[in-house]
Symmetry: C3
Subunit: 322 residues, 3 copies
Amino acid sequence: MNQDLSAPAPHAAVDASRHLIGLQEMPRARMEALLDRAQHFADGHDERRALAGVAVCTLFFEPSTRTRLSFQLAAQRLGADVLSFDASTSSTSKGETACDTLKTIEAMGVRGFIVRHKDDGAVAGLAAEAGEGTCLINAGDGRSAHPTQGLLDMLTLRQAKGADFSRLKVLIVGDVKHSRVARSDLHALRTLGTGEGRSIEIRVCGPQALLPDDDTLHGCAVSQDFDAALEGVDAVMMLRLQRERMEDGLVASLEDYHRDYGLTLARLARADADAVVLHPGPMNRGVEITDAVADGPQSLVLRQVANGVAVRMAVLESLLKG
Amino acid sequence: MNQDLSAPAPHAAVDASRHLIGLQEMPRARMEALLDRAQHFADGHDERRALAGVAVCTLFFEPSTRTRLSFQLAAQRLGADVLSFDASTSSTSKGETACDTLKTIEAMGVRGFIVRHKDDGAVAGLAAEAGEGTCLINAGDGRSAHPTQGLLDMLTLRQAKGADFSRLKVLIVGDVKHSRVARSDLHALRTLGTGEGRSIEIRVCGPQALLPDDDTLHGCAVSQDFDAALEGVDAVMMLRLQRERMEDGLVASLEDYHRDYGLTLARLARADADAVVLHPGPMNRGVEITDAVADGPQSLVLRQVANGVAVRMAVLESLLKG
Amino acid sequence: MNQDLSAPAPHAAVDASRHLIGLQEMPRARMEALLDRAQHFADGHDERRALAGVAVCTLFFEPSTRTRLSFQLAAQRLGADVLSFDASTSSTSKGETACDTLKTIEAMGVRGFIVRHKDDGAVAGLAAEAGEGTCLINAGDGRSAHPTQGLLDMLTLRQAKGADFSRLKVLIVGDVKHSRVARSDLHALRTLGTGEGRSIEIRVCGPQALLPDDDTLHGCAVSQDFDAALEGVDAVMMLRLQRERMEDGLVASLEDYHRDYGLTLARLARADADAVVLHPGPMNRGVEITDAVADGPQSLVLRQVANGVAVRMAVLESLLKG
């Protein structure tokens, strides 16, 4: 089972209207409806009866307290019963397969699962095994997808720049190769970024060793020159540098990375005067981003976090209500 | 204190109507009333006001995420406030005795405790120390008892085979010696298995080293020949093989165990054509049970899990309501 | 950031009406109002609508299951949504500063934080960074303060000895030097202990190496002679002996400590006949206190635990309601 899960999953087998596995196949109308509803929740509305009596469980095979808390708050504001299963530390898994764990908790009456897994395609694989009436939400799998992060980034961009993304220049910076956030952002930007004959301009910048060599970046303007790539952009989407890239030998040192790809106020001045800065967190302050930028007026980092709860409410409600 | 807890507990000191320590002394009428009520909950009914304002706490001195989740869901569906104390990892216990931990949380206003402990009799020992108005539910202690597992197994059998157990042939297979599940099942089967002059036929099968040498098996037909023991039975209750039995030298290898005591489709064909298969989970697939049996039409494994929540609702309501 | 937090915090920068950092600056009227309200909750009243829709989060950078459970129960009885972030074990902190963790969860919509930290002044430092509308409650920082413990000790004393503390003789025993509990108790006793020209008599007793050499004990009668210090006191407030004091070489052995500063029934007989005994728990039975005292009729240890929930309800309601 575990071997099967690490292989790319047969997405076709998964009902995209029942689960949220990725943003690649999500129609634009559905994405915009989710963002509209999320904006309603971001405006402070609760729906305490929406999921009353519905049990949801965070099922994390890879730890992430921030994402777990965000989903828990979202589920609570919808009135759901919320459970947590930390499969990364549970000594009860006792060699049980991920699928048996899912089916066991499902049998207890849990209808919604928020799943994080270190393997690409693992959540789709589990969704294919889930019973009817069960919904899975991918809270991040391998380097594949983190769809609620993608949606919250879109909501944040929309609040700052309006709903027409086709006029925007957006720059994604850093370790795109290993980033599920970048992949989900790219899918969403492409989906929302066309209109009236125009198309969003997506630039990608990072060290060659941290850029994907498959078709992930098709249509993007790729560069290793951060200063040049910043010229005139409307939004800079920074990625977190994982420390293990140093161990992998893909990055020489944090100092080198900061010199070449760290976002400073001086660099940010090259972007459009109204440019906004996003980061999925947690930030490596002084590495990919300086304090002055992270805490500055152009930073939307905390707005992203706030929007995360709203987007997850919209997703949970959409999949589990009624 | 800890020494006292590991000794057999003075059951007589514990009020069986206030706590659920084991099934040995439970009268048949009470057992059937609990199963009737559990069936009501299994049919999908909630009682969100039954335990409103009542706080219950899972107090696990030995980890078990599955059992904890099942009790949490049960308590939530009854409207209780649910807390969790993982005494197996808590660094706050700081040498505190189990009894002090219990009495401290009790003083906070918690009325129901769901207790798991590695030592035989530990839960009865704690119940004897608990204040009036406090209820303890044994969620598994040592090799002694796991009463809610016993009850959920009975509910599952009853759904499959009807309420008259006196006509049944039931086979329990595996490491009965170290199994609290088997002990609780044996008590419940004997309690429910007599009627109209007939008596249930209980067979037990497993390697000699894993069978108890006390009076646990009185009245059972004991055998080391799995194939023969399966002949014509109505239900096969498989037990989990703990990996530490290999380290203890009680089992030569997983392969040997599977060859002699693994339930395969071929073996299951010796049972009655309508025979059902139970397993308390988590399953060692390929060891005591094959995938084909575990996931086959005769398997009630997931039904057991579902019934677990219903049975725990019935127990919590019975002890804590009003 | 972490360095800043370990320095003494600029208390002046923190709005004492919005947060609860310590008891040093709390006016007597506010302290008494909190105790009055806590008594109401201790009498068994809930306010399930008081914090409906309000999210609070325990944010513990140092583990403490007892204190966390007490705050969780208090928040549940006020109807709040309760989250838990165990920063001491979270692998997601990933080098994130305590301040970024706070601001991230704050951005999710959490309004109340119950914070424990090993560094003096850490909670005040975080409170200074928190946004408007966010309340921090210090659940213990370094050796500085544990204000809800101080308040629950006062409520317990008041129930036993009446509201006029000015006539009392109170003895604090043990490792005052490293105790945040003792510091909060001292502030509260001084605040509540004056009236009608009289003043409470506070005695402090412990080995010289465990007594503070700053102005913590100003106005207290300090002694190394436990037997003499006990003469005629109305209340004995025992402190927990941390095992690491032996490693630090500040205490020779548990046996020595028990001989000199362990509270036995024989010693307690020197106190007033109606004297009461308090201990913040968890107790080292046989070290600073014997079983006979801990479980005897003069012990208020479990009453303290019960009052802890009531005091925390009063504090949470006061800071977060409306």
